[in-house]
Amino acid sequence: MEEKTKVITKPKVEVILEEEERKRLKAMPLWRVRLYLAWREIYNNWRLFSENKIGLVGLGIIVFYAIMAIAHPILMKWVWDPNIYDPIIGYSYDEVLQPAPPSLRHPLGTDPLGRDVLSQLMYSTRSEFALGILAAIITVTIGTTIGAVAAYFGGIIDTLLMRLADLIIMLPFVTILIVLSALFKMNLIILAIVIGILSGFGGTGIVIKAQALTIKVRAYIEAAKVSGGSNWHIIFRHIIPNLMPLSFLYMMFSVTSAIFSEAVLSFFGLLNIRMSWGLMIHTAQTAGYLLNPRTWWLIVPAGLSITLLCSAFYLVGRALDEIVNPRLRKR
């Protein structure tokens, strides 16, 4: 059992710290310092990030859609009549022919079921974000842990994890999702979990492991061992924090992948959800309006949004890449 020494044994050499010094130390409680340091790191990272035009464009798009997501419930509550504008059960009585083209009342027109397209678009944004971020978090959590563990322990654990990853990479991603959704109806949360698991145990794990291998051989890891650090202490206190920049980077790419996969599945009508961009296109397709250029508002807004949001996260990822990689090598 670990004996916790409550009191430090008297040091062999008394170092008298001056009163001034003691006061200064007392005035800096640990938690406050850490908060300040964290804030400073975020600020510096933001400065680096904002130098990259590409990243800012991506971020701008993300912010735009975030505003849309937030604006929707406000509009629903204060501006729009829920009977008409509800994205799922609303119906526009004023139009004679559904789907109706864009007008002042319905800026993006209505869909074959008489529902306002703009409202649908805005409503779905919320779930797209939720899906993307949840999937990304799961992917990266799994991927980072696997990468760190495989790299640190090596041997049979490494071999098993890597063979598993190879297996997953070999299987076509979207096809698997389609098969799974045929077996049981997936909603967004389950989809996020499935995507997270597949990506996490797959490619992400391998990339992060490669990075973890470079960290494992650093002298400060040896120093930690010499101090008496256990394997888990080293993995969680040393290796994983140094993997964080890379993990964060991969989160961006995971979001892209998740949103796109959802769009594909929804298009085939395989998901158990009430509204999403993919579903909007699916609705258009089942009503026979898919390839009709005259009803462009049924496809273009949704399709464009999928493309834009996916690209936005990808661009942010690319901008982060330029920060993360040289910094990881920085002395």
């Binding site: 916790k4 020494t5 430090i8 062999k12 010094e21 800096m28 924090p241 920085k330």
Partner: protein
């Protein structure tokens, strides 16, 4: 009290060479081969050798970053002599309170995401010593001790905000904070500028005296070893070829390798003309070496005796001056 603190007996570390996918060929690098030495409490032994000599491997064996292939490493901990080469688990962790290491590269031995406080406090955290406040106090004291004053301005800096010399001081503070009795220093000054180097050297000597720390000082630089150690051991291809008091060894080197090494060191004085080192060939890797003297193929004084006999044993030629050579 000059009791023995560390006793190394027949220490061996052989690294297997793997060729091909799964075939393990019967080739081993004899990195450390039957090394014997003792270190008394309070003294400082310098382990001198070129790259590939096995000095760093020896250091790592003594701090148990590596496990020996065979042999014993006996350390006097709390009055009891313990063979640390086979310790595991909790006992291994407790052993780590007595032995610490200072690394060569001040840039690599600190975690770039740790503040100075995190780095220096880590041994305390890992060993479960004290609570947060006590640690902060102890770390501040330690920083003052290694010359990083005022401590409050250094506590929360990151390695990239420090110079090489400052980083090495942090590394020293980390090594000494749990008050080990034995410290292995692996070339701690070779990557520092000269004007900074002497500062660190004197710091280490001063702390050794004040805190009663015993050192194994590993280096390739004989001049630095002269200042940092009271005794020297010269290691070549995994074997100690000469060992003795520093000044004695430098004035009267007996082993041909030591003599060559000494005459090869450039002297910072243009008036001094040094002799040509009596050595031929180049250093090689000790892979499954023949049982003869390891220095045979480079020695200018080798005779038939040397070719026919096994590697000479390390023998006391008087006054604690040990040599492994038939021609002395």
């Amino acid at each position: 009290m000059s009791e023995t603190l560390v006793r190394v007996e027949n220490l061996c570390k052989y690294f297997p060479l793997t060729r091909g996918l799964f075939r393990r060929v019967n080739l081993f690098v004899y990195a450390v081969d039957n090394v014997n030495f003792t270190i008394k409490r309070g003294e400082s032994l310098g382990l001198v050798g070129e790259s590939g000599s096995g000095k760093t491997t020896t250091g790592k064996l003594l701090v148990r970053l590596l496990e020996p292939t065979s042999g014993r490493i006996l350390m006097n901990m709390d009055g009891e002599e313990v063979d640390i080469s086979t310790l595991k688990g909790e006992r291994l962790k407790r052993f780590r309170r007595h032995v610490q290491m200072i690394f060569q590269d001040p840039y690599e031995s600190l975690n770039p995401r740790f503040t100075v406080f995190d780095t220096v406090a880590e041994p305390l955290v890992v060993q479960g010593i004290g609570d947060v406040l006590e640690r902060e106090e102890r770390v501040a004291q330690m920083l003052a001790l290694v010359g990083l004053t005022p401590p409050s301005s250094f506590l929360f800096r990151f390695p990239h905000e420090l110079s090489g010399g400052q980083r090495q001081r942090v590394a020293i503070a980390r090594a000494l904070i749990i008050e080990p009795s034995f410290v292995v220093a692996d070339e701690p000054t070779s990557m520092l500028d000269v004007s900074i180097r002497t500062g660190i050297m004197y710091l280490m000597l001063d702390l050794a005296e004040r805190l009663g720390v015993t050192y194994l000082y590993i280096t390739h630089d004989l001049a630095v070893a002269r200042y940092m150690s009271s005794r020297l051991a010269v290691i070549y291809l995994g074997k100690i070829v000469e060992m003795g008091e520093t000044e004695e060894l430098l004035q009267r080197p007996l082993h041909p390798y030591t003599r060559a090494l000494i005459s090869a060191v450039p002297i910072p004085d243009p008036r001094y003309k040094r002799p040509i080192p009596e050595i031929k060939g180049a250093i090689s890797e000790p892979i499954n070496p023949p049982p003869t003297c390891r220095f045979l193929d480079r020695c200018l004084r080798a005779t038939k005796i040397c070719e026919d006999s096994p590697h000479p044993p390390l023998e006391d030629k008087g006054g604690g001056h040990y040599v492994a050579c038939y021609m002395v």
